[in-house]
């Protein structure tokens, strides 16, 4: 199962499972380090791997990491033969953060969808580019830059793609006023 392989590889990257309070009582929380408890906690999500129910959410593995760890996670997926489905952003204005979301999937019957999330500050949003690993990310990152103003560090050609070439606004930010 590719799901287990990927989970194992990711666990090497995030070695310490979060100190989950209720988890020890439940049966082996091995692959699901912080499944339910983290959801119930109202605080911000901590970095790590969560296994999701595909029928409920539409994807299997949900990874949150720091922008600095992003390339390492993407390289694991590249090695496992994933293709890049899309990149997008979410503006969490209440937490003063911008989130970049990466969708990966495989050309395989062993379905495994992986979502990577990484958050950056709203005032100076900066995330390393993955276009060196996946050239297809070039357009997706340009689009995310258009809509959210996230700067992708090292992107070879970060100019507006869908917006006009002189656009200096980011329409999907929650405080955007047309």
């Amino acid at each position: 199962m590719i799901k287990d392989t990927v989970k194992q590889a990711l666990r090497d990257l995030f070695p310490e499972p979060e100190p989950v309070v209720e988890a020890p009582a439940v049966e082996a929380a091995e692959g699901e380090e912080e499944k339910k408890p983290a959801k119930k906690k109202e605080g911000p999500r901590v970095n790590g791997v969560i296994e999701r129910n595909h029928a409920e959410h539409g994807y299997d593995i949900d990874v949150q990491c720091d922008p600095g760890e992003l390339l390492a996670v993407v390289m694991i997926l590249d090695k496992a033969g994933f293709f890049l489905e899309s990149i997008t952003g979410v503006d969490w204005i209440k937490e003063n953060q911008l989130e970049s979301v990466y969708d990966f999937s495989r050309y395989d019957f062993d379905t495994c969808r992986v979502v990577i999330r990484t958050r950056t500050s709203r005032s100076e949003p900066k995330i390393p580019t993955i276009s060196k690993i996946y050239p297809g990310a070039g357009w997706h990152e340009r689009e995310t830059h258009d809509f959210f103003g996230i700067k992708f560090d090292g992107h070879p050609h970060l100019v507006p793609l869908l917006l006009p070439e002189d656009a200096d606004f980011h329409p999907l930010l929650k405080d955007f006023k047309p």
Partner: protein, 372 residues
């Protein structure tokens, strides 16, 4: 004129293909650096009909966004609306009656055939053959008339509802669809005899426009482009949704990686869609088309939901980030041609311009769907 014009052998010039160019089928612009007839470098320029459907998805309630989805891809709109209703049904946990799912599958497949037919005609026309377009449009017209009678519109359908359908199919539709299947099978044979073996057609496509499997993976290409590169990937099979597991159909895969392989995939896909329609009509159960308790106000619980469907052009994905209100917090549309087109810049390097345009045709572009 005073003497011949001298051009340095290493001199290149810039050529603008589009934004108003018949070969691009819409307002797409490709800035090409040319060395004679050969492309040195290409840069695609997008955004001429960008409408920001994603922001509209955040500003409107879920039902209000329904008509937006069919404005993405005007040739195969039902596939996109299908993705949208499935995503919201997944997020809000709405059950769909079986009959509604079957009718969705039948209409989506008919729409897929219509989309492929139009692509077939336009593609051959790009290569200089005008007649097949007329045949293809005639068959497509039959489908559009059928769908119009049920859905109320010819191209920009708003037929599906969260939980079911707007309108049940009648006996006329079923009779028309049953009559259409043998007619279309005959037409497919005709197209094959008319076009596939044509020597000019083959010379323009065979071994030209290579898109390898690895390139597909790096750029995230899906649909017939990936299947023409030998990748056995179809969301209907790989990540089954709706009632597709009930149907017996094959996924055509060709390993040649050239423009002709992509042509063959689409032609074979029409036959497979016919098989699905045929089985769907046979199995179509009786019953309601909307659940008894369809929620009027849709407020999915807070969370992040993704749904992928196989449209005529490839894997279309919808991400809904809900904050528990009646509007989506984030509404992301992952359109297949966007990824399929993104590999064009790299793939066409070093090609002759006419071959590159033939390859562009084989990608099956619909520009409003790239620009969204």
């Amino acid at each position: 004129m005073s003497g011949p014009i001298h051009i340095r052998p290493d001199e290149t010039f810039t050529l603008n293909v589009g934004p108003q160019h018949p070969a691009t089928h819409g307002v797409l612009r490709v800035k090409m650096e040319m060395d004679g007839e050969y492309i040195v470098k290409a840069e695609t320029v997008l955004g001429y009909i960008h409408r920001m459907h994603e922001l509209m998805g955040e500003n409107r309630t879920y039902p209000q966004v329904l008509p937006n989805l069919s404005r993405l891809d005007y040739l195969g709109a039902l596939g996109y609306t299908h993705g949208h209703v499935l995503a919201v049904e997944r997020a809000a946990g709405i059950e769909v009656p079986e009959r509604a799912e079957y009718i969705r599958a039948i209409t989506v497949e008919l729409n897929r055939i219509a989309s492929h037919l139009f692509w077939f005609g336009a593609f051959v026309m790009d290569l200089g053959g005008f007649t097949p377009l007329m045949y293809a449009i005639e068959d497509r017209e039959y489908i559009l008339d059928m769908l119009e009678a049920v859905t109320g519109s010819r191209l920009t359908y708003c037929y599906y509802r969260f939980g079911g359908l707007y309108n049940d199919v009648d006996d006329d539709f079923i009779a028309a669809a049953k009559a259409f299947i043998p007619r279309m099978r005959k037409s497919l044979k005709k197209y094959d005899a008319l076009v596939t073996g044509n020597i000019i057609f083959r010379k323009r496509l065979e071994d030209i426009g290579p898109i390898s499997a690895e390139m597909c993976r790096k750029y995230g290409a899906t649909g017939p482009v990936a299947r023409g590169a030998g990748i056995d990937f179809d969301v209907r099979k790989n990540e089954p949704y709706s009632v597709y597991p009930e149907f017996d159909f094959d996924v055509p895969v060709y390993h040649e990686c050239d423009s002709l392989a992509r042509y063959k995939v689409r032609m074979d896909e029409m036959e497979q869609s016919l098989r699905i329609v045929e089985q769907g009509l046979e199995k179509l159960p009786d019953g309601p088309i909307m659940p008894k308790k369809a929620p009027k106000l849709i407020k999915p619980p807070a969370g992040d939901y993704y749904q992928a469907v196989e449209t005529a052009r490839g894997s279309f994905g919808i991400r809904i980030v809900s904050d528990g209100t009646k509007n989506a917090y984030r509404f992301k549309l992952r359109s297949p041609t966007y990824s399929n087109m993104s590999l064009f810049d790299e793939a066409c390097e070093g090609m002759m311009i006419m071959d590159a345009l033939a390859m562009m045709g084989s990608l099956d572009l619909v520009i409003p769907e790239i620009d969204r």
